[in-house]
Structure formats: C-alpha cells, structure tokens
C-alpha cells in the first residue's frame, strides 16, 4: 500500500475504533440512574397531552 492510502486507512479506522470503544466503555461503566424517592418524581411531564 502507498503511504497516503495507509495513512488515511489508519486514521479513518482508528477514529471509529477509538470512539466506538470509548462510548461503549462509557455506556458500560456509567451507573444506572437511581429511581426517584417519590411517586411524583417518577411521573412524566405530559405537557402536550395537557395543552
């Protein structure tokens, strides 16, 4: 392979490998959000329905 093709290939593939791994790592390590303590905290805000 010529050097420009190799450079573009490594940069492009490295970019997607890095970010796919980085975001997947974040997804797997961020703890789930705690459930609200109150019933009202659990309710959705249905503003469109109440318009």
């Amino acid at each position: 392979m010529n050097s420009s093709a190799l450079t573009i290939m490594i940069l492009a593939q490295g970019f997607f490998v890095f970010f796919a791994a980085y975001y997947l790592y974040k997804v797997l390590t961020i703890p789930p959000k705690p459930e609200p303590d109150t019933y009202s905290g659990n309710d959705d805000e249905l503003e469109r329905q109440n318009d």
Binding site: M1, A12, F16, K26, I30, P32, E45, Q49
Partner: protein, 604 residues
C-alpha cells in the same frame, strides 16, 4: 391509553438492538463500493462531514422524538409525531414510519432468506468445484423461482417463508426476543467480520492464479483508500456520502423512534445515540472495508473489482472465492460470511416489525403474538411479488420507492417538524434530558439549520431521478402491453450503437463498443479502455425479430414484433401494491383517531 409496560431489559441490549437495526448488508457491500467509486480514501472526508452534520443530528432527533412519544404511550411514528405537535395532519406523515418498514421488509426478508439458503449450501458443499461462472449462474437459477437448486421444489419460496416465520416467532416474544437476538447476533456478526477481515488483510498475492496472475489483495485496499482529493470538488461525491450516511444509519425509517419509545423517560438517549452511531461506523469502515474488495482483488485482480464491484458480489462471487481456501475453510468462511449477512439482516428486519406491532398494540390492543403474525402475513403477501417477479424488476422497484424515496421524504419532514414546529427549545431540552454526555451546543444550530438544508439538498437533488422513475424513462419499452419491442441502452451511458451479430428464430445477439476500467499500477489510478461487449435478447413464442445481421441499432429502435408483456406491467403492479399499502395504513391511523376520539384521549 394503552400504556405499554414493555421496556428494554438492559442498556447494552438496547444499544446492540439499535446498532443491529443500523448495521445491514449495506455496511459490507454498499460502503466499499461507494468509496471505490467516489474518491477512494478521500471519500471518508465527506462521509465524516455528513456523519456529524446529518447522521448524528438525525439520530438525536429520532431517539428524542421516540422517547418523547413513549411518554404518552405511543410507540409508532403516527402518534409519536402527533404527541409532539398540535395538528391532525401530522400523524398522517407518520404513516411513512410504518409503511416504509412493511414495504422494505417484504423484499429485505427475501435477501435475508438468500443468506439462510447460502449458509445451507456452504455447509453441504454445493459450491465445491464450481467455476466462477457457475457460482454466478447458481444465483440466477436460485432466484428463478421455478428452478430448484437443491431438489427442494420452489426453494427460494421455502427459504423466504422460513425466514419470515423465524422473524415472526421472535417478534411474537416482544421486545425481549428482539433484545436476545441482538445480544447474540451482534457479537457473532463482529466476530465473523473480524475473521474475514483478517483474511482480507493477510491474503496479499497468495490468491494469484494463471487466469489472474496480477491478483493482489493489497491492490484492492490501496485503491479503496488512496485519496483522490480532486473528487472532493465533485458534488456527486458529496451526495453519495450523504446518501451512504443516511442509509447506513437506518434513519427516516421509524424504527429508531419505535425502539427509543421504550426507553424510560428519564434515561439517557444522547450517549446511546452516538454509541449506536459509532458502532455502526466501526462495522462499516473497519470491517466492511476489509472483506469484499481485498478478497475479490486478491483472487480476481483489481481490474475485475473495478468493473464488477456491487451488491451481486456477495452471492455471485464470494462463494467462489472461498472455495480457493480448501473445502473445510471454504465451508467455515461461507457460514461466517452468509451468517454475518444473516445477522445483519435479521437484526434490521426485526426492527422493521416493531413499529407495526407497537401501533397495533397501542391503538387496537393487539398482543405481541397477534401483531407479529399479522406482520409476518403482511410481509409475505407484499413480498411474494418481489419473489415471483424478481427478474422483471419488481424487487428493485420496491427498493427504490420504499428503501430510498420514502426514507428521504420522511426524514426531510421529521427534521423540519422537530427543529421548526416542535421547536429547538423543546427539542434541545429533550435531547439533553437525562443525558450521560454533554452534547455540544453547536448541535442546536446544526439541527436547526444545517441538517434540514443537507436533507433538503439530498431530497431535491433526487427529484429528477424520481420523476424519471415515475415516467419509466429507464426503459424504451414503456407500455405494459405492446406489439413492438425496442432495443434498450447497450452501455450505461446510452450512447453505444449495437451491431446485429446473430439472429435466430427467437433471439438476437448484438455486439457494441463498451468501456471498462483498468488499473494503472505505476500511476496508481484507474484508466478507461474500450472493448467489444455483447448483448443478447431472447424472445418467446409469437415474438419475432425484425432485424438482420449487420444492422446498426440505436437504443429505442424496434427490434422485434409480436405480443409483449413488458417489465413495466409488473412494476406497475408493484407500485399499485405499495400505494394500496400506504392507503391501508392511513386508513388504520384514521380508525385509531376515531377510536381515540370516542375514548376521550385524542390530542386535538
């Protein structure tokens, strides 16, 4: 309100299902071909620009719209859109989000069934000792429904029904079934892909033969990645990149909305959206670019690849190439390749089933089982014309109207709706609600101004070809029934003139001057060379050639007389079916609206 209690079992399951929805056959077959044809390595520049300016914004829009609609118990686009804005009409725009899925799955499941059949044939060694031409011929006889390749009568239909039954069964298990398939299918797909990609990278010149002495896998990679920067000045290259990003992420379908509608209202969608987007990019750019092109170049040479690269390679060429690895490895590689395509297909076709299931459950209280079987039945009914009239072009016509036009149309509307009618203030709040990453503020302006403009450009640039398709300008035989048959274009440009070489009772053979690409290794660029090409027409009883040997024939000249039923006839039937499907879903949305009105839960 039929508030569904169904939700995703885990966040990873949701992301794998979303990534599986996006990863399809195009990741392995469309992307490398687009790159080769549009600037090689330089193609990645418009690809990335479109990924950030159109792909990621559309993912944000669809994920947040879906989760927003889910808060109101809506799991399909008609009522997701309805919950976002005041107005009775917009729910009918949402019809596209169900229609497109049903129409696409009708032919997509057929391709999926080919992958199932090819796994079977790879295992039993059908392709062993076949020449390249015989492997290509095998595919043609497979899709010729009346012909059986295994002794199973109507084999293509048997596999199609099997494939739909499998989809239906999984869908009847609800979201958990879809999630389970994604959790098994996506890792396997990546594993199979990595195995084949390693083979692509290490093949080198070992596949060269007497017939193709210059075959070299590195030539393929070289050609794929060498940047031709002057191509960046060509708007067609940018349009191709925008199209690739659009289709690869499965946006404009309604499936992302549907999956996201099962996300809890306070859970993240921003990080999930970019993760699924980058996973799809990883499969496409890292794995997809390392299989078809280098392996084909490694055995058949780059000249062959440049002239034949396309969707057909998956079924007409790859099985032959795998045979060069010996019987055992050929079977393993065949199972991996077609298994990979099968998993990429089934994770997408399952996603296409969920909007219909969600709609019927929300509006008419249908169970998952009832919804799944009705989906399977509809897909079978809609898909049979593509099976029976595959060679008459019905399959391609479905793909064009449902898989291209409908997607772009819906995406254009939804982006306008989200950023200008729902409003970016509310939209931005929705994107950031519960977000586990900080979305750069610039996206507020990209979504409002840049993405609609880009999509508008894609949409309006496609209009001339849409009009040509409507008018059947891609053929000279534009009547359904005719007494005269006209010669079609000989070359892709339509400028070549054919010379009649042979005339039989029921056939005519033309020769014409065509051009093909040839790779110049010294200058590392593609050149054109002229060669004599041939085209043959065969006719049926009652159809008689009216040309003589030596006649010079232009495209559009009459070449035979008799009674003809042209492909246009079958395509028109396909189009009528699609229009009926759209009207049927529109009617269901109207019925649902009346039902909601009676029950006092109508939004306006």
């Amino acid at each position: 309100m039929a508030n569904s209690t169904e939700s995703w079992g885990s966040r990873l399951g949701l992301i794998l299902a979303m990534a599986g929805n996006a990863v399809g056959l195009g990741n392995f077959l469309r992307f490398p071909v687009q790159a080769v044809e549009n600037g090689g390595g330089a193609f990645i520049i418009p690809y990335l620009v479109c990924f950030f300016l159109m792909g990621i914004p559309l993912l944000f829009i669809e994920w947040s719209s879906g989760r927003y609609g889910g808060k109101f118990g809506n799991h399909s686009t008609p009522y997701i859109l309805d919950s976002m804005v005041k107005g009775r009409i917009l729910k009918y725009i949402g019809v596209f989000g169900i229609f497109t899925n049903l129409a696409i799955v009708a032919y997509y499941a057929y391709i999926e069934s080919w992958t199932m059949a090819y796994v079977y044939h790879s295992l039993i060694g059908t392709f062993a000792d076949m020449s390249q031409g015989e492997v290509a011929g095998f595919f043609n006889s497979y899709v010729d429904v009346a012909h059986s390749t295994t002794g199973i009568p109507y084999e293509a239909i048997v596999f199609f029904v099997l494939c739909l039954t499998l989809n239906t069964f999984i869908l009847s298990k609800g979201l958990r079934g879809v999630e389970k398939v994604a959790k098994i299918g996506m890792p396997l797909l990546i594993l199979f892909g990595i195995f084949l990609a390693i083979r692509g990278y290490t093949l080198g010149t070992s596949g060269a033969s007497e017939l193709f002495p210059n075959a070299n896998a590195w030539d393929g990679l070289n050609f794929l990645w060498t940047p031709q920067y002057d191509s960046l000045l060509n708007p067609k290259v940018w349009l191709a990149a925008a199209g690739q990003i659009f289709f690869t992420l499965s946006v404009g379908l309604g499936t992302v909305h549907c999956y996201a509608s099962y996300v809890k209202s306070k859970d993240d969608i921003a990080l999930n959206a970019v993760t699924a987007g980058f996973m799809n990019g990883f499969v496409e750019v890292v794995i997809g670019s390392a299989i078809v092109i280098p392996i084909a170049a490694g055995y058949l040479g780059l000249d062959w690849v440049m002239n034949n690269a396309g969707f057909g390679m998956a079924f007409q060429t790859m099985p032959y190439l795998f045979q060069q690895w010996g019987p055992i490895l050929a079977a393993v590689a065949g199972v991996m390749w077609f298994g990979l395509l099968f998993f990429s297909g089934i994770t997408s076709s399952l996603a296409m089933g969920t909007p219909w299931l969600g709609f019927m459950k929300d509006e008419f209280g249908w169970s998952s089982t009832k919804g799944a079987w009705s989906f399977g039945g509809l897909a079978l009914l809609l898909g049979l014309p593509t099976v029976f009239f595959f060679q008459q072009g019905v399959f391609d016509d479905y793909d064009y109207w449902a898989g291209t036009v409908s997607l772009v149309f819906f995406a254009f509307f939804e982006v306008i709706l989200f950023s200008w009618i729902f409003g970016m203030k509310k939209g931005w709040r929705e994107i950031n609600a519960g977000a586990d990453i900080k979305v750069p503020i610039i996206y507020k302006y990209i979504i409002k101004y840049v993405t609609p403009l880009l999509l508008g450009w894609v949409f309006f640039a496609s209009l001339p070809s849409i009009i040509d398709k409507i008018m059947h300008r891609d053929t000279f035989n534009r009547s359904s029934f005719a007494e005269v048959f006209y010669a079609e274009k000989f070359d892709t440009g339509g400028t070549a003139i054919g010379t009649v070489d042979e005339v039989g009772d029921r056939s005519i053979r033309f020769s014409f001057e065509n051009t093909r690409k040839k790779f110049d290794k010294d200058d590392n660029m593609a050149l054109s060379e002229k060669f004599t090409d041939y085209r043959e027409y065969t006719f049926k009883e009652g159809q008689n050639p009216i040309v003589a040997v030596g006649d010079r024939i232009r495209p559009g000249d009459a070449i035979a007389e008799g009674d003809f039923v042209n492909h246009v006839f079958y395509k028109n039937i396909g189009r009528a079916i699609l229009v009926c499907l759209f009207l049927f879903i529109t009617f269901l949305v109207y019925l649902a609206y009346n039902k909601r009105k009676k029950e006092g839960r109508v939004t306006l």
